[in-house]
Amino acid sequence: MLPNRSRLSVLVFLLPPLLLYGAAVLFPILQSLFLSFFSWNGISDMEFVGLANYIRMFTADDVFWRSFFNALGYLTICLVLQLGGALVVASLLTSLRRGRELIKTLYLLPAVISTVAIAFLFVRIYSIDPVGLLNQLLDWIGLGSLERAWLSDVNTVLAAVSAPEGWRFTGLYMLIIYAALISVPKELEEAAVLDGASRWTLFTKIRFPHIRPVWITTTIMATTYGLRGFDIPYLMTNGGPGQSSELLTTYMYKTAFTSTDFGYASTNSVFIVIECLVAVGLILFMLKRKAES
């Protein structure tokens, strides 16, 4: 328990960021909720439509559902690359004796490159005409039959726009997980090894339970970032071809700023907020249950 004076000073210091958060995050969310009950194109009179926007979104908008499932696909690929990749690299790093810093830096580099540069870079990597890096590599290793225009093929485009986002932040999550892994007490590991634990048992019974709190945080971070993913798909394909790489976020943006249907776009944004809250709730619930079991 803090003494009175300290409690007051904590409140004084917490209030400005809280106000800023309220103005920058909570207020727009509530304003979106308000606008979602209206039909408004920005210059017309606002017309109250009740739940019509929600009914349209859930029952009559095929692009919305397509974007929703695309967003889930995008999230899955990002999570596998970011968390799975980060865990593998971090685990391998702990067994390295030399060059750890160099490898950490190399893996972290993409996180500091501008999004636009990454998007343009990958457009070139995926290109078929002129032949980009990926198609060239496939050709060199004798898999020429797999060559394709990755960003124009409706079957590959979603994975193609998800991979750069996953690749970009793998290094960042690797760094966080690596920091957690090296904090695992050595004596515990040594005792387990003496008891004859395999590397896998060592990982599942000792290391992972120890890093679980960090893992939860990184999973929440990666999931919310993944659900909010926008810039790379928007820059690389603008949601195309067709709606093959359209995410809820890019769809909402287009509905607001291209179709100028601000009411309906607000309905989409309310859905995204709820979706993020549900996702975080689910993660906490699942990991808690696993920890208890």
Binding site: Q31, G42, P241, G242, Q243
Partner: protein
């Protein structure tokens, strides 16, 4: 929680009400001769044109000349050349009632709503008052008009869109330049067989492919088809619409466009053509400096020629009627229109055409002659001369006609149709229901 919601709702309403209050004081759009003293200040032009292009350079110079007699005057040019980004900026500013003195817009349904709300000055009256209206090419003004023939935008360009082609590549494939639109799929098949990319297209920006959907209906049913289609009075399932859908599917089947075209940009497409890889390229006279001067790759320079939009059998429109846009137009904000803006426009619009034509571009007016650059190839003159032989009708780009939601969906579905990911029937059904759902909101 309930209380928090109520407070937020009140705050939101207050914010909107305040935004509404800020927008008061709209002056009459038909009053083109404001009276009073000319008080020099900075005025802004929100525009979507290349930053180092002729229009901006000339207007900068004219603004500097005007400022010599009106100390304190300056023209702040805020350009966003990327059109989708620009449109988003414009629409957001319009929603916030913060449009500057001058702003660019096409004759879109959104712009028409702004005009109806009295937010734009009547350009026809303005040009007539300035005694320059009759100088303008009718086609240049028609391109800027809304459906009811009213005019709220002033053109600064005049362009003609051609099908540029590489004679040597066509010859290599044993085909001639298409005489009819219906010849194009067969031409593509022959070119592909010879290992040549038939048509280079900028798929990333979407409007170039949208041009193609307009061609068959323009030839089959004339310019009225899109006017009706956008309001839901005509359909893609009508004969003219079907002809277009089937033709586009045929273009896709014949692999007319370069592989992976949907993710290739403007310069990719141009490079394909100017490097001699692609046989055809559909682009306007704004590219004359790169296609018809000694800047063009010498390896293809002697092989390049162009045709205008091919006709079809029983075509409703003539060979000299095709896409001849006068570019994005400039609208004058009625709210901020005052003696200064009026006087500056009088000064600038009087001097602009001569300066513009001197750069080798086609002026939207007929009172000046385009200067052919010293480094031009014979094609330059040939292209410029086409402007003197235009018919009365012109093919309107559909992206300036359709409501924004339908337009966005059309651009997406076109790629799928041409790539063969959807059938013509699926395309027709999707687009007809999209128009039916969205058009009424914009064209009621």
């Amino acid at each position: 929680m309930k209380k928090l919601f109520r407070t937020a709702a009140v705050a939101a309403v207050t914010a909107l009400a305040l935004a509404g209050c800020g927008g008061g004081g709209v002056s009459s759009p038909s009053n083109v001769t404001p009276t009073g003293e000319i008080k020099a200040r900075e005025i802004s032009w929100l525009l979507s044109r290349p930053a180092d292009g002729a229009v901006i350079n000339i207007m900068k110079k004219l603004a500097e000349d005007y400022a010599k007699d009106h100390p304190g005057f300056s023209l702040n040019l805020i350009t966003t050349p990327d059109r989708p980004s620009y449109i988003q900026k414009l629409e957001t500013l319009a929603a916030a009632n913060k449009l500057p003195e001058l702003f660019d817009t096409d004759a879109t349904p959104f712009a028409q709503q702004l005009a109806k709300q009295g937010k734009m000055v009547d350009a026809e009256k303005l040009l007539k008052t300035l005694n320059v209206y009759d100088n303008y090419r009718p086609a240049a003004l028609d391109y800027q008009r809304f459906d009811d023939r009213s005019l709220y935008m002033i053109p600064f360009q005049f362009e003609l869109e051609f099908f540029w082609y590489n004679k040597a590549l066509l010859q290599k494939a044993g085909v001639a330049a298409p005489k009819s639109l219906d010849d194009i799929p067969a031409m593509c098949t022959s070119l592909r067989k010879a290992g040549i990319t038939p048509i280079a297209i900028d798929g990333q920006d979407q409007w170039p492919l949208e041009r193609y959907v307009a061609y068959q209906p323009f030839r089959e049913a004339g310019p009225d088809f899109i006017q009706k289609l956008k309001k839901g009075e005509a359909k893609f399932s009508d004969p003219a619409g079907q002809k277009s859908v089937e033709w586009l599917a045929a273009l896709g089947k014949a692999k007319c466009f370069q592989d992976g075209f949907s993710s290739q940009g403007y310069s990719d497409a141009q490079n394909q053509f100017t490097s001699g890889k692609a046989a055809m390229y559909n682009i306007g006279t704004w590219e004359l400096p790169s296609l018809a001067t000694d800047k063009l790759n010498p390896a293809v320079r002697g092989d390049i020629d162009f045709i205008t939009l091919p006709t079809t059998e029983g075509s409703a429109t003539a060979a000299n009627e095709f896409v001849s846009p006068s570019g994005i137009g400039m609208a004058v904000n009625a709210k901020t229109y005052d003696p200064l803006v009026s006087d500056f426009l009088k000064f600038a619009l009087g001097k602009y055409p001569a300066e513009y034509a001197a750069t080798g571009a086609l002026s939207p007016t007929t009172d000046v002659k385009t200067a052919i650059p010293a480094n031009a190839t014979p094609l330059y003159k040939k292209a410029v001369e086409k402007a003197e032989d235009l018919g009365d009708q012109q093919a309107m780009p559909w992206d300036t006609q359709l409501d924004p939601t339908t337009n966005g969906r059309l651009q997406q579905e076109l790629v799928l149709l041409v790539q063969g990911n959807i059938t013509p029937e699926q395309f027709t059904n999707t687009m007809d229901s999209t128009v039916a759902q969205n058009a009424p909101k914009f064209f009621k």
